[in-house]
Symmetry: C3
Subunit: 207 residues, 3 copies
């Protein structure tokens, strides 16, 4: 499994870096500003996870590949960013959903391997999955995706629970990884496509 986890982690890093770069478009930032926002989005969640678990120095300081993936992603995204007309409206949402699902299972797996309980592991998956996106949205002054009514935190928590249960099952770990990731991604994409939401609570008149 380790190699799959690692490859998924790098893919998720690239995907989240892309969402950071796209988020930067609203602000007409220069290349280095875009790089910073992409990097914060890509490694923010995992960095918070590692700092909370005491797994320091955090992951990307020990393995240069994460930074290289971010750098390449940002370089490749520049042509995309300068032709806004060619960027479908939902690109950011779908890319974010992929990153959310990937990082959720990665984060859950890392916490379980370090010996934390299933409940803590689900939360570490959630932190890894939503942390970077929350920082991106705060910096870009957007309403964080996690505060919107569509299923978001729920998709991450589902992925984490699936992986935690599968981890103690006799199933092959790689299979569990795929199932948990697909479950989380599928739920989030379905929520985006059909605007699904759980029952909501709150003031009906506001927003």
């Amino acid at each position: 499994m380790p190699s799959w986890v690692y490859i998924f982690d790098l893919i998720g890093t690239g995907v989240f870096a892309l969402t950071g770069a796209i988020g930067a478009r609203r602000y007409r930032m220069d290349p280095f500003g875009i790089l910073v926002l992409a990097a914060v989005t890509a490694v923010g969640g995992g960095s918070i996870r590692d700092a909370l678990m005491g797994a320091t120095p955090v992951f990307w300081m020990l393995d240069i590949n994460y930074l290289i993936v971010i750098l390449i992603t940002v370089l490749l995204s520049f042509p995309l960013l300068s032709r806004p007309a060619h960027l479908p409206k939902s690109t950011l949402l779908i890319a974010d959903a992929c990153g959310l699902a990937l990082f959720t299972v990665i984060g859950t797996e890392k916490a379980l391997v370090m010996g934390f309980s299933g409940m803590v592991a689900v939360i570490m998956g959630l932190v890894t999955g939503v942390g970077g996106g929350i920082i991106r949205d705060l910096l870009c002054r957007q309403v964080p995706l996690i505060l919107r009514t569509e299923i978001y935190a729920t998709a991450s928590i589902l992925g984490g629970i699936c992986f935690s249960i599968g981890y103690i099952s006799p199933l092959n770990d790689t299979l569990v990884l795929f199932i948990a990731m697909c479950g989380s991604l599928g739920l989030r994409l379905a929520a985006i496509r059909w605007q699904l939401s759980l029952p909501v609570f709150g003031l009906s008149s506001k927003r």
Copy 2:
């Protein structure tokens, strides 16, 4: 004293979780979104404190009771959240004041027990007391309470200083805990009730 500190810590966790759930009302969030915001508010300050002090993994990863308290609080708050008319306007402010006072003395105590100086301990109390609320307000796009003119940081600093002085005094530790907490809470509630504030600095024309 340990048992009192622990019980107070759990009560403060529930109180801050409630303020997070109430803060979520403006956004018509689903149950899991509310749970995330409640949890971030409840354990955010203590997590920052522990990460800064190097006390990792942070407290709630080692003791499942904090998460259980948050879960129960959020479940119990759902009926309250769906009947907005029954929620007095000042509920959030008063609950936040209680959490502020409780977490301030808890944070100060933990830093003193770990051997830090009184000045650092007061700051750790402040971080514990205001950290979660600041994250909640940032996510909910409210002006953080700490930026308002009413006495807020001051109440936390007062509680931390009282506890730090009492800690090296011959007084009973539990008594010191109560006095510091009541001092902090009393000052903050008085500030809310009579809109007390210290002399303020700044541009008089703005806001």
Copy 3:
């Protein structure tokens, strides 16, 4: 070199504390609120750096001088804050530029001394330089400086790269420190003065 690094670090702490206090002016905060915002701005970046590197407890918890510098800076800034007319518009920007340059080289140096690679050290310099300012701007609900088009992250990255290259060169370390800092500061001040920017990407119609 150590003594120079230390003196520069304390100067940077005071300068960033001043920008935090100035940022607080818009909110008519009381003295303790200003103190909190000044402290967060001054030690926020370095605290994130130390938490990421696992250098905990973070620097200011082990050396009381940082807190004393912040306290004195805030006390001295009160007369300035209460006479807004005497505060030139660009004061905040220039003070922030000085803090950015100072903290960038300090952060880069600390990471290199701890044995991290040049690429990680440049990022640690960036985190140290921009971290506190980002927190200040988020709390004050300003568009973070790093999201504006003028050269900002670029100035920090330039300083970090200069220092990292100079660090492995035969040049005197103090000289390298000055050169890297002046390069970073000069670029940022030039960008403020002549509104320089790198080519920007993004939607031309927004903002």
